[in-house]
């Protein structure tokens, strides 16, 4: 699931369905997003360092997984498509 501004950029609805080859990890999911929607390259993670943008957070099965390794396996429920992988714009700014 993408945040509103990235949905608008990509011209998609709330939930995007993606096929991921190999283990389902944060890196694999974002690779698949950027391949399907090139306009989103650089908006979720830095193009150069590949690090998650500071004010973007990742959630899976109700847990904040933002600080986990990008190569750690995502929960099985997300991998098999039962649960969404949530990309959230952090509540920030005052």
């Amino acid at each position: 699931m993408l945040p509103q501004h990235l949905r608008n950029l990509a011209g998609v609805g709330g939930v995007v369905r993606l096929e991921v080859t190999g283990p389902a990890t944060q890196r694999a999911v974002i690779d698949a997003i950027e391949a399907a929607y090139p306009v989103l390259a650089g908006t979720i993670r830095d193009r150069g360092t590949q690090k998650r943008r500071a004010l973007v957070r990742f959630f899976a099965c109700g847990e904040d997984v933002s600080l986990e390794s990008p190569d750690a396996p995502l929960p099985e429920a997300v991998a098999c498509g039962k649960e969404p992988f949530l990309i959230i714009g952090a509540i920030a700014g005052g």
């Binding site: 501004h5 306009v39 908006t43 150069g48 973007v56 920030a92």
Partner: protein, 371 residues
């Protein structure tokens, strides 16, 4: 009948204001890219319907948008701004070495002749060029590789390359300005650069007349006379008659020589405009009175232009890229404020009216004169 299109970048989107040549009735279109910071948008002099916009956000980074129909529709261009070679370091606020980090594009300057060629001024300070309408970008790294690069330090607003002037007479000559490094000139299309800060004096830096380290806020030129440059520095209005090789102060009788924008009349190369701001910590007009100042002598002697502008309780700022002129027979002058007003003068500054009053804080104003 000819017309004008005013391109306004704000903290929360872009707006396009259009009018016929009378400049009395305006159509306000927007926001485009609502919720995003639009630091700058500008049209190609070679193809006015080709527009470029810098779209950024603290959450989602930098994008470049391109329009081929005057801003009715947009498509995302490339956003891969990669520093060339070893990134290196510049000086941080505390004097320590700090690695160069790309943050955003402050200014887009389309080529004078090729609608697909465009320059981008970035924070941390670097100049990029695209030859394919913004799809791909290449750093002109000779600037950052200038021998003084390691000593550049950010200003309060970041270490931004905010001004790009393309010389319409001498091919390959480019002027740029960086806060707080100073002004630089290239005579070979951006390959090599020379610091052009001789004559600047900045009391707030360790060596007030240093080769670099001056907080230049904006430079302007008249296209008929590109060797004459006008500068709004952190403090001081400066003038150069030799393409930046030397500068002299022309602040004259201004109530304050602090400010951000400076602009030149479209048909009178010695007529220039500034908006005095009280001080570097009090970013609002002196006495709460919003006044544009005009010099018809290229500086030193200034007259206040206040008709139609608020003359009490006005505490807005006018940012460096937020003033522009049209080139109709009677030159129009435009500026936007951090309070969201965009003011227009259809009589070269003698009188002003707000085109729109309640936009988000205005970051930039550009004007296109349309046939």
């Amino acid at each position: 009948m000819s017309g004008v299109r005013v391109l306004v970048g704000t903290r929360k989107g872009a707006f396009i204001l259009s009018s016929d040549g009378a400049r009395k009735a305006w159509k306000v279109d927007g926001p485009h890219f609502g919720g995003w910071e639009i630091y700058h948008l500008k049209g190609s002099p070679a193809e006015p319907n080709r527009l470029y916009a810098s779209q950024s956000s603290g959450w989602f980074g930098q994008l470049i948008q391109r329009s081929s129909d005057g801003g009715r529709t947009w498509e995302a261009a490339g956003n891969d701004f990669k520093y060339d070679g070893t990134t290196g370091t510049h000086q941080w606020y505390d004097g320590t070495a700090h690695p160069w980090e790309f943050k955003r594009v402050w200014h887009l300057e389309p080529s004078l002749t090729d609608p697909d060629a465009v320059y981008a001024g970035a924070e941390d300070a670097a100049l990029f060029r695209s030859a394919d309408a913004g799809s791909t970008w290449t750093e002109l790294s000779g600037l950052r590789g200038h021998g003084t690069g390691k000593s550049w330090m950010p200003g309060a607003g970041g270490m931004c390359l905010h001004t790009i002037l393309l010389d319409p007479v001498i091919p390959g000559r480019i002027f740029i300005a960086i806060s707080a490094a100073g002004a630089f000139r290239s005579d070979d299309g951006g390959g090599t650069w020379k610091a052009i800060n001789r004559g600047l004096r900045s009391e707030h830096i360790p060596d007030p007349t240093a080769e670099v380290g001056h907080c230049v806020h904006r430079i302007a030129m008249h296209r008929s006379r590109p060797k004459v440059l006008f500068m709004q520095k952190h403090w001081d209005i400066m003038r150069s008659d030799d393409a930046g090789d030397s500068w002299r102060e022309v602040s004259g009788n201004l109530p304050s020589d602090f400010g951000f924008p400076i602009e030149v009349h479209a048909h009178e190369p010695e007529t220039i405009y500034v908006v005095p701001i009280k001080s570097d910590s009090e970013h609002y007009p002196p006495d709460g009175r919003l006044r544009v100042y005009r010099s018809r002598q290229g500086g030193n002697e200034w007259e206040a232009l206040s008709k139609g502008l608020p003359q009490k309780d006005c505490f807005v700022n006018v940012l460096r890229d937020a003033m522009a002129v049209d080139s109709l027979d009677t030159c129009g002058v435009y500026f936007g404020t951090t309070g969201g007003q965009v003011y227009a003068s259809a009589d070269a500054g003698d009188s002003w009216t707000p085109i729109v009053r309640d936009l988000p804080a205005v970051l930039s104003v550009e004007v296109q004169t349309l046939p």
